[in-house]
């Protein structure tokens, strides 16, 4: 009997959770197929079928999901309601499996509710149910879960999704935003590679310890009730307040609901710390490379000049 094929779209929370689900499905005995890197075809499919008002990364997610329809038995789309007790994720993650199921040509979708607000045992129960689609042996599912947890630990220890490269440490730039925008070269117009080519030391959200983020965001008047946005804001606050970087680039997607609010918090923080420059870049499917590059170059040039001036003084 051939193994059940599970498709995982290389988009959205893939960048946060893929080691867990890839390991889990492989260990229960499925074959995991991750969709390819985002390309024009994937984006165009997404643009065609997704609601036009939605943000770019979700459109890309639609494209990835449909690119998997022919290749696997199920596409796995978890419903990530909450990853910590006091907060939610973006509403779009709450409705994601339902949105994809509503497509006229939707593939078979496998899903699980992840909700840290509920007791742990709900998650175990749903995990058993999810695993049983592939493997009827509960012990095997439990083992797969343990292995998946281990894979996540290693993933967290490695800190960054950015493969190591040689930087000359002249300039240290913090890149912040949602991982699904930053690490998808097609969405972010490959700006990480461009910075790498200039041998700039790149810092990302993963380099900032979780407790730093908590301490920084604790000073806000109202706690941020979206976990991933809290990470973004906390990271920027940490960098600006400790001057850990020379400059910050904040990448956000047009029509991103949570970031439209967070942008105000971040820019307010930047106003208080003018010694660390911050540039916000808003991207969507119409973003042009030329304009983007001009801004990127101007920003790095400005940082270099500033640094040279300070060295002279």
């Amino acid at each position: 009997m051939s193994r059940i094929k599970i498709g995982i779209p290389r988009a959205l929370l893939y960048y946060k959770q893929y080691p867990f689900w890839q390991t889990f499905f492989e260990k229960v005995g499925a074959e995991v197929i991750v969709s390819g890197e985002t390309n024009a075809q994937i984006l165009n499919t997404g643009l065609e079928v997704a609601p036009s008002e939605i943000c770019l990364p979700v459109k890309v997610f639609y494209g990835h999901t449909l690119s998997l329809s022919e290749k696997c038995d199920y596409v796995f789309i978890p419903r990530v309601v909450s990853v910590e007790k006091e907060a939610y994720t973006c509403p779009k993650f709450l409705g994601l499996p339902d949105m994809l199921r509503a497509l006229p040509n939707a593939p078979a979708i496998l899903s699980i509710d992840m909700n840290a607000k509920k007791k742990r045992r709900y998650f175990y129960q749903s995990l058993l149910k999810l695993g049983s689609t592939i493997n009827k042996n509960p012990v095997a599912i439990l083992k797969a879960y343990k292995a998946a947890q281990k894979a996540m630990e290693i993933f967290h220890r490695n800190k960054s999704l950015l493969p190591p490269f040689e930087a000359n440490n002249n300039l240290k730039i913090g890149i912040v935003g949602h991982p699904y925008n930053i690490y998808d070269p097609y969405i972010s117009l490959d700006f990480l590679s461009r910075l790498k080519r200039q041998k700039i030391n790149i810092q990302t959200l993963e380099n900032v310890p979780a407790d730093c983020i908590e301490t920084q965001t604790a000073s806000l008047a109202k706690p941020i009730f979206w976990t991933y946005e809290k990470e973004v804001v906390g990271t920027v606050m940490h960098w600006l307040r400790t001057k850990a970087v020379d400059g910050v680039i904040y990448l956000l997607a047009f029509a991103c609901g949570p970031d439209s609010m967070m942008q105000v918090l971040i820019e307010e923080e930047a106003r208080k710390h003018p010694e660390v420059p911050l540039m916000s870049i808003v991207i969507d499917e119409h973003s042009g490379e030329a304009g983007f590059l001009t801004r990127l170059e101007a920003f790095t040039d400005m940082l270099n000049l500033k640094k040279a001036k300070m060295a002279r003084a």
Partner: protein, 368 residues
């Protein structure tokens, strides 16, 4: 202390009533207008949704009228609405305005927190007294909602154009003066009678349309270009998924809309199995409910970039196909114009008429 709050349709009547009971001086912000929107768009974040911008304008105009305390609604996510207050405060402080704020957290987050905001507003009163005030004002809100609901239904039949709107104005005036619960009950009957006395043309062919979507756009006529009055004058019998009392207390057994919140959620769950904040899940439930009631069509209204409603938007095509009902989606932002909206509504009405084979429903629809 002089408090002000954002404008949202008839919410203002309710706020005036509540603050009078509490003995707090309330300065009514000018009605939402182009000017409020202009202020909000200038100060507010570009990517924020329309309600944030208009209510920001309301606050600024309220402060300019002499208020010193802003009453804001809170929330715990996942909809952006819960963070509005913080962002608006930040923006206004940055623009140089000075004020205090009182945030009213929704009752679902614990009654203590909810009442605490009111204790801040009037320190002398105990919890029981405050509860009684809120309860009485809420009864008034429900009475207002019944007037709204009835005028939405009757406007399609009015013999003389505009007579329902005039009667509604009179009805709201009657309700405005009511103080005690007995008076409110009495005023409610008198107000509904005011509407009953409007001369109707029952021979008219009438289409039935359900309005659903994001609550602010449904409740604030300035934001939705008073779509309800326009449709009523086009002889469309309307029902709306969200009324003010639904919005304030969705968990309470609500009889204004006709279906309790729980029921709506259950109806929606085969298509959207989890709440997504705001009215995202109820919108799906409302569409199915309207289809089941034999409505000709539904109109989905929401502000550009609204997250919960975009999710509903992505799912509705499947819902309307399986439940055989026509859908018009209207996404509104500060660039929207009335003319474009009316053109789309006209086309939609024509479509509904042609689906009926040219003839609308002849018998009188259910009127409360």
């Amino acid at each position: 202390m002089k408090v002000t709050a954002p404008q949202m349709g008839l919410l203002q009547i309710l706020l005036e009533d509540l603050f009078e009971r509490l003995g707090v001086e309330f300065i009514s912000a000018p009605e939402s207008s182009e000017e409020a929107l202009e202020i909000g768009s200038r100060l507010g974040p570009e990517l924020a949704c329309l309600p944030l911008k208009i209510t920001l304008g309301n606050f600024v105009q309220g402060l300019e009228k002499g208020a010193d305390t802003l009453v804001m609604a809170g929330g715990f996510g996942p909809c952006r609405f819960g963070y509005y207050g913080q962002i608006q405060q930040l923006i206004m402080r940055r623009a140089g305005y000075k004020f205090n704020t009182i945030t009213i957290e929704p009752p679902i987050g614990g009654l203590n927190k909810f009442v605490a905001a009111f204790k801040k507003l009037c320190p002398g009163k105990n919890t029981y007294q405050l509860y009684q005030f809120i309860r009485t004002s809420f009864l008034k809100a429900q009475a207002i909602d019944f007037v709204e609901k009835k005028s939405l239904q009757l406007r399609a039949y009015e013999a003389q154009k505009g007579s329902v709107s005039k009667a509604k104005k009179r009805a709201l005036k009657i309700l405005g003066g009511a103080q005690t619960r007995a008076e409110i009950e009495e005023a409610k009957n008198a107000a509904l009678e005011e509407l009953d006395n409007v001369a109707l043309d029952l021979s008219r062919e009438v289409l039935r349309v359900g309005l659903m979507g994001e609550f602010y756009l449904l409740l604030e006529p300035f934001a939705n270009f008073d779509i309800e009055e326009y449709l009523g004058h086009e002889h469309i019998y309307l029902e709306r998924g969200v009324y003010i009392s639904d919005w304030i207390s969705p968990s309470a057994k609500n009889k204004v809309f006709g279906l309790p919140h729980k029921e709506i959620v259950k109806t929606a769950s085969p298509y959207l199995g989890h709440f997504v904040g705001g009215e995202g899940q109820p919108t799906i439930g409302h569409a199915i409910h309207f289809a089941g009631e034999g409505f000709d069509g539904v109109i989905h209204l929401y502000p550009f970039t609204c997250m919960p409603e975009i999710i509903a938007d992505g799912i509705l095509p499947k819902v309307i196909k399986e439940h055989d009902i026509s859908l018009l989606t209207l996404v509104i932002d500060e660039q929207s114009g009335r003319a474009g909206l009316i053109t789309r509504l006209e086309a939609f009405i024509d479509l509904l008429k042609s689906r009926r084979g040219g003839a609308g429903r002849r018998e009188l629809c259910k009127v409360i």
